[in-house]
Amino acid sequence: MAKVLMKGNEAIAESGIRAGGLCYFCYPITPQSEVAEYLSRRMPEVGGAFLQGESEVAVSNMLYGAAGAGVRCWTTSSSPGISLMMEALSYIAAAELPCVIVNIVRAGPGLGGILPSQGDYRQAVKGGGHGDYRCLVYAPSSVQEAVDLMPLAFDRADRYRNPVLIIGDGMIGQMMEPVEFREQEFPSLPEKNWATDGCKGRKPNVVNSLYLNPVEEEQLNRKLGEKYARMERDEVMFEEFNTGKPYRALFVAYGTTARICKTAIKKLAEEGIDVALLRPITLFPFPSERLNELAEPAEFLLSVEMSMGQMLEDIRLATCCRKPVHFYGRQGGLVPSPEEVADEVKRLLGSAKGDR
């Protein structure tokens, strides 16, 4: 198929449809309303369901309902809207329902601003809602990757019976890049014999997250824990850049900031400074193992984020602080430039010398 030039938000919308996400609920919020606008036109063409709900609280519970009835369903929103979905997300995870939630993150906290940010890392990766649950979290860094991750997200949601988050930032949503909608093959999925889709010929099914018996609740928690452990074993995805030759420092960055680091790496190479990059594609599970290996030859690690340093904590945990882990970031909707990031590396290399 020929490539088409598409805005991230519209490409995500189209890819969601092609991945079989024919049931979509939404509530408008910048910078991702184009997904809803695109689908309001496109869904009728493919016979899918499009509904603008009265709030994100409602939308997330519509997902609970549709997913519980065995329907491939999804939504897109941005930070304040995602916060309102946290209660339902906890219920969805507890009831082990598959759905996909895309967060085109904007600057916060509070109403914040509408410009790009990565301030929702912790909310996405560590929970956000109450209780002991996790979501599989993907972080695309290009429009093409966002397109490619949609079918994977739906497949993994069904396979694990778990909510899957895709987090991009305003830039991924608003930027146009050439994309190709490639067919992806997945092994067949188990039948949704748990869904509440009519009990003809079977015992009634119940979708529920209430366990008053502590032993049963513990069993659920353990079962979920095992599922998350399987994700950590099987689902880790990352990209390496410039790791094939010796390097002095290692960037760790995801999404848009990873691309900025790549340009910074090229600029630094021109000055004879070799730096590499590890770009997590899954934020949970975090690529801890590979990070440890790549950290080994580096003098230090530098986490570059559009936040005050949230992934930073996971990098420190993964490497057990065996190497210095530094942070460089911009906040509030400002995006670090490759020049700033390169300068930070030079500054750190300089001061490291001074320390000796």
């Binding site: 490539k3 030039l5 910078p31 601003g113 509408i114 410009l115 305003g170 830039m171 608003q174 930027m175 146009m176 890049e177 050439p178 848009t256 691309r259 900025i260 680091c261 790549k262 340009t263 910074a264 090229k266 909707g333 995006v335 430039s337 490759p338 020049e339």
Partner: protein, 182 residues
């Protein structure tokens, strides 16, 4: 090889579309492209701009602090971006609306009366195509034929507008080419 151009002007001057046509042309030629709009509070009625990157290798950062080229449709845009561009780049200035000259002597200036040319060609709204033509004429960043082909497909749904827009593209292109030769 990578070129970056910022197309900037008032909302409604068609700078976003001009940038899109350029990006799409690059894509049709099999090159890597990014089109990044400014979005935010300024969207409402104010200024608009987009960055178009065309490259031979995958494009890393979509954010460019110092673009090579600037296409300015109005004075605030020229003033905002001219200081940022790299030495040796092209700045295309819409002389119909910008009375001043760029205050730099290390960049190549292409002056185009985009609004006048567009009005004379019969469509005041097509000043964006004049300036796009001039940019391509001056920089040669994509072949002219490819640009025309893309413009035709983009305007496919409004066939009546094709001839006047192509005329605008062409006149801009000729002016740009001359400026390059000068």
């Amino acid at each position: 090889m990578q070129t970056e151009a910022v197309f900037a002007g008032f909302g409604g001057q068609g700078v976003m579309l001009a940038g899109m046509v350029l990006a799409e042309t690059g894509m049709n030629l099999g090159r890597e492209v990014v089109w990044l709009p400014s979005y935010g509070p300024e969207m409402r009625g104010g200024t608009a701009n987009c960055t178009v990157i065309i490259a031979d290798e995958p494009i890393a950062s979509p954010i460019v602090l110092h673009p090579r080229d600037i296409v300015a449709m109005n004075r605030p845009s020229l003033e905002k971006f001219c200081g940022l561009m790299r030495p040796g780049g092209y700045v295309v200035v819409n002389k119909s609306l910008i009375a001043v000259d760029p205050d730099r002597d290390d960049v190549r200036v292409v002056n185009v009366e985009a609004n006048r040319i567009a009005i004379e060609a019969g469509s005041a709204k097509s000043a964006n195509m004049v300036i796009l033509g001039a940019y391509v004429g001056a920089t040669g960043v994509v072949p002219y034929e490819a640009l025309v082909e893309t413009a035709q497909t983009v305007l496919k749904k409004k066939p009546k507008l094709i001839p006047v827009n192509l005329k605008c593209l062409e006149q801009g292109f000729e002016l740009g080419k001359q400026a390059r030769a000068d």
